[in-house]
Symmetry: C2
Subunit: 321 residues, 2 copies
């Protein structure tokens, strides 16, 4: 089977479903027509076997995750998905693998109306590169540089579950089967918080998605905004799942702060907008937890239940550390 046949078989669907994708996969370029006056938000992520996923991963879960981590970047920008491109290097053509991968990929894409508009395939060590495109009205994007001293800091959902699953895989932590199934699902099929990102337009100041760990991704907001932050450890722990807290794991706080692969949002909003944040969370159907404040003084501080500063555990994940 040739390269073009391979593409057609698994990835070329009917004509684009979206009216704002006048030309989809199969030409030199795809054509997109963002709504008049909207800006285009673009993000790219590359996933490598052994680094971003295990060789044993279910290909459907991988298809889901490869797109989810990209959609998560649109969510963090408050952008609405339009379409994405997919480039694949494959060590060999495995029909069953591709069918399963495509099923996981398209299930998530269809949930969010995000169209596959172009791609490339080649032989090589397994590598997936997706570039996602969305739209956002001028001035409403949630930029990392927009945090202001006095802002509240929030996170969506729960933190540290993906790290917990990884530790179970590594044999360092034991978990009952039901809990393992849940945290493994969180690691392999993260939920991009697109509805929350949209609902936070005009409410939140700065936002980022938590891919490398809360403390590391918050640090990017702080650096871009020229501010610092104080986090409250009990509040951070409140933003963890019962699966993580319930184990009595002494490293639950560390997993929440540095675990990585959460794909939740960390965002800041003025304290006068607490009701609006709560409304946005309800509208998006996801819990948010207020975990601290933005300070004028640079640096990231962590306070315990008694308000005493405690050391920040661990460090954010770095693909070249």
């Amino acid at each position: 089977m040739g390269e073009f046949e391979l593409i057609r078989r698994h990835f070329q669907r009917q004509r684009p479903a979206r009216a704002d994708v006048p030309l989809g996969i199969g030409d030199d370029c795809a054509l997109l027509a963002p709504a008049p006056g909207q800006q285009l938000a673009v993000s790219t992520d590359m996933l490598v076997e052994g680094r971003h996923f295990l060789s044993t991963v279910d290909p459907a879960a991988l298809g889901h995750k490869a797109l989810a981590v990209n959609l998560s970047d649109l969510a963090a920008m408050g952008a609405e998905p339009l379409g994405f491109t997919l480039a694949l290097a494959l060590p060999q053509v495995d029909d069953a693998w591709l069918a399963s991968f495509a099923q996981g990929l398209f299930a998530l894409a269809d949930t969010h109306g995000c169209e596959l508009v172009g791609g490339d395939t080649t032989r090589g060590p397994l590598n997936l590169c997706l570039t996602v495109m969305g739209q956002v009205p001028p001035g409403l994007a949630l930029r990392r540089a927009a945090a202001l001293a006095g802002d509240d800091i929030y996170v969506s959902g729960t933190l540290g579950d993906a790290r917990l699953a990884l530790e179970v895989f590594r044999g360092g932590v034991a978990l009952d089967a039901a809990a393992f199934t849940r945290v493994r699902e969180r690691m392999e099929r993260p939920t991009p918080r697109l509805a929350l990102g949209l609902a936070l337009r005009g409410v939140a100041h700065a936002a980022a998605d938590i891919s490398d760990g809360l403390s590391g991704d918050l640090a990017h907001i702080l650096a871009a905004s020229g501010v610092g932050a104080t986090l409250h450890a009990p509040a951070v722990l409140q933003a963890t799942s019962a699966d993580l807290r319930g184990t009595g794991n002494p490293r639950a706080l560390e997993y929440a702060l540095t675990g990585g692969d959460d794909y939740e949002l960390v965002f800041t909003a003025p304290s006068a907008r607490r009701d609006a944040v709560a409304q946005a969370a309800i509208q998006a159907g996801v819990d948010v937890t207020r975990i601290g404040q933005i300070d004028a003084a640079p640096g990231l501080r962590l306070l315990d239940a008694q308000g005493r500063e405690q050391a920040l555990p661990g460090r954010a994940f770095d693909h070249f550390a």
Copy 2:
């Protein structure tokens, strides 16, 4: 050196130069603002060591080529470049390699005012994935499906030089040093025909870039348009360089038809627009050669100087063949 430091050092430049890139590299997404009413053209390409380039390649040439092959897709669409994303998997952090790669990349990017707006880096087997974005007014994109029976078929520049260089590398063909330098340059630093693509808006019907070989890429136009074509072998040979023809290489025609890596344009235009095509070529500063016609009958035919049908040599390159 951490991942973020690596990115900043080599790829993060001053604030975006383009006014229509309100937010460049460094946030969850970049923001682009295409001109009002224009459509967005998007293409992605993945390059793998040993498949698309040799391990011995000059990193500056690789930086050039990685972007050139993507810009070539915009050219084939008649689109004007806006920006691109770059995802890189690297086996290790090699500062000198990255500096040279970035130099080659940015030299070409700056020539065409195409801004690096986002990226990703990770450790892994060497892999480059670029996604390029451009803009084109609605209705003016040069689509593969737009060829009509009776259209002339043209190619830009010269064909087969990259293949000739590859054969010299492989030891199958001998070439004097000056000629080898020229054809190697053609292989390693292809010229995306962006000015020609723009000049052909409203003149050409269908277009594609020649990445896999003239006959294969023309076949995509024929399939998409539901037509056939007749090529004239002497005219195809006329669209080769003196370096290829001059060697008396008996496979010159085969290299021109199936060589690959040419990154010239193949396009069709009504015969009533021959003057306009000639004007577009002058405006773009590149030769174009008329090599045949589009037929209503499907299939691709090749005629010799006496008008007799001859067999099509070789086949187009397929990354999974």
